[in-house]
């Protein structure tokens, strides 16, 4: 029997909370689960990241020394007003951009000075992207869209097909593999995008305003998938959003302001999308499907 002190940022606190889904001070902890705690690897480590854009003669300091650590299995929401640096941070975390100064270690590899091609390979292997605008290839079936990242990784055809089918089933789209994006609703399209982000077994899924184009019920549905993936598969999730209630589905919220981290806190009353869906009035599935 080990008692764990509750303290913000304490990994023991975080992990205990995650494993048991209750406040640690209320209960004793199962030592078998506790044994896993030291193994919580660091997935993202940003160390004094600066990013400066030069626009003509003007230098824009988008990031002014950002340091943060995200561990495996965390579900983190990044918030902030536009111009706060959250998009730049997301681009850097997603290896789409490089920091001007500072180091970024992703899954044990220093990616801060990597070339364009090396970053492409890192994105392929370690990062899954989910975007606000879904960003699926049009006139391409859901299955082929999901297979796409594996194509760039060089997975053979049979395995590609199998893994894509599994990923689509995991997001509840079994039977819709051959549909093209224009034959799917917004929520379904976003679920295809989530399936696509999963297939290469990335170290991290990066979602940029994933509910921005969705209505509230569909938003909850997508968040339910994220929470389930995070809970059941231990997938590390970084979610960029400007909606505070969406951020409530995460474990931890990081707020940006003026290129710096303003606050970084654990969510106290985390929302459970699955629970909320049960209490929501049922929507006729067929209506949605026919879009």
């Amino acid at each position: 029997m080990v008692a764990v002190a509750a303290a913000e940022g304490n990994p023991f606190y975080l992990w205990t909370k995650k494993m048991l889904r209750i406040e640690p001070q209320q209960l004793t902890v199962n030592p078998a689960l506790l044994a896993e705690i030291p193994e919580a690897r660091t997935v993202i480590q940003l160390d004094h990241i600066h990013k400066t854009y030069t626009m003509g003669d003007v230098e824009v300091h988008a990031l002014r020394g950002v340091s943060l650590t995200i561990r495996e299995g965390e579900f983190v929401a990044i918030m902030g007003a536009s111009g706060s640096g959250k998009s730049t941070t997301m681009n850097i975390i997603g290896c789409l951009d490089r920091p001007t100064r500072g180091t970024y270690i992703l899954d044990g590899e220093d990616v801060s000075q990597m070339s364009k091609d090396e970053r492409a390979d890192i994105r392929c292997k370690k990062i899954g992207f989910v975007f606000q605008g879904f960003n699926l290839l049009s006139r391409t079936s859901a299955l082929e869209n999901v297979e796409l990242p594996m194509l760039y990784l060089g997975v053979d055809a049979a395995q590609r097909h199998q893994r894509a089918m599994e990923a689509l089933a995991a997001v509840g789209l079994a039977g819709r593999e051959q549909n093209h994006p224009n034959q799917l609703s917004g929520g379904q399209q976003q679920r295809v995008a989530v399936a696509r982000s999963l297939v290469n077994h990335p170290a991290l899924i990066l979602a940029d305003e994933p509910t921005g184009n969705l209505d509230s019920r569909t938003s909850v549905e997508v968040m339910e998938i994220f929470q389930r993936l995070n809970r059941e598969r231990g997938i590390t999730l970084v979610l960029v959003t400007h909606e505070p209630d969406i951020a409530q589905y995460a474990d931890r919220v990081i707020v940006f302001k003026d290129g710096k981290i303003k606050s970084d806190y654990q969510v106290q009353d985390k929302r459970d999308a699955a629970e909320e869906l049960k209490n929501m009035p049922a929507v006729d599935e067929d209506d949605e499907d026919e879009e």
Binding site: R123, L136, R139, E144, L148, L151, Y152
Partner: protein, 407 residues
Amino acid sequence: MNLLMIIRVAFRALVRNKMRAALTMLGIIIGVSAVIAMVSIGQGASASVQAQIDSIGTNLLFVSAGAQNVGGVRSGTGDTGTNTLTVDDLEAIKREVPSVSMVTPAVNTRAQLVAGNQNWNTSLQGVSEQYPDIRKWTVKNGAFFTDADVRTAARVIVIGQTLADTLYPGSDAVGQTIRVTNLPFRVVGVMAAKGQDPQGRDQDDIAFAPYTTVQKKVLGRDRVQIAYVSAISQDATYTAQQQITDLLRQRHKLAASEPDDFTVRNMTDVAEAANETSKTMTILLACIAGVSLLVGGIGIMNIMLVSVTERTREIGIRMAIGARSSAVRSQFLIESIVLSLTGGTVGIILGVGLSLAIPAMLGWPTLVSMMAIIGSVIFSAAVGIFFGYYPARKAAALDPIEALRYE
């Protein structure tokens, strides 16, 4: 990501937009089929010229009176004003030049031939009995006149098929009598039909009589304008040409500084000249068709550039999920190569089809050239690479962040 995958990606991208792909290919299809059809027409013409020349005999030499080129001024061979070639010269050639097998003079004139109530103006050729062997021209009915007819200047005549059809429609010409300038000639033979020569003249509109008869009884002059000489083989034609020139210069007592007063040409030269002409024609036609191929290529570049802009977001997605710049570049390059090669293949089928249809439709001989087909394939691939490279490079140079934001 291996090449096969990139090819699959490129194919899928093209299949997604069939209409645009088809329209883009149209330029290449037209270009390639035009090149193949044009070259086929050129080659066909060339082959038919060659066949005509072969039928005349490539070991044939022409000896004509007068110089072909005196002081830079070209005069026609067999000039009527010259009288430098005699029957004795020809006898000497036959006797003294070892590489010569047969000789016949050809004394040409136009004559009005009258048979019953029919008459016809034709070319009357005074030749020796060796003429059919030298020209490789057989007699269809009757027989050619003989050595004896030549010696005795007999009034015998052999007519071409056109004449036989005109003067004796529906009946046998052999044994009939034709009057030439009021002298009766007995028809001893009808030549086999030969058809048109490469210039389109009717080779069967002709009559042959012994040269002695034509000289003495029709023209009243013993001069020879032209002679046909047969060398013992095709290889011997150049030797024969040289030996005849040497002999005639000697016989005509020409000083070293004086130009030839006769002309010796061989059929190989004529054949080469004809080939040269048809080759020039073929190249000209191919060049014109090549321009349309070039225009087709520019069409591909145009579409690919539009495509890169239009698919900026797609490129952004591909890059974000892990496509290297090189993979994007290869994809667009291969799309362009696939477009031009597919267009090229369809163009080949169309071009070959056209080449096979032209003889039936227009009556022109064609010869489908393997070279033109291989050339078109290489050219269309080159067009794809050349005109696809710039748009592909543009696509690969896109920044994923910018590309994803593109609306």
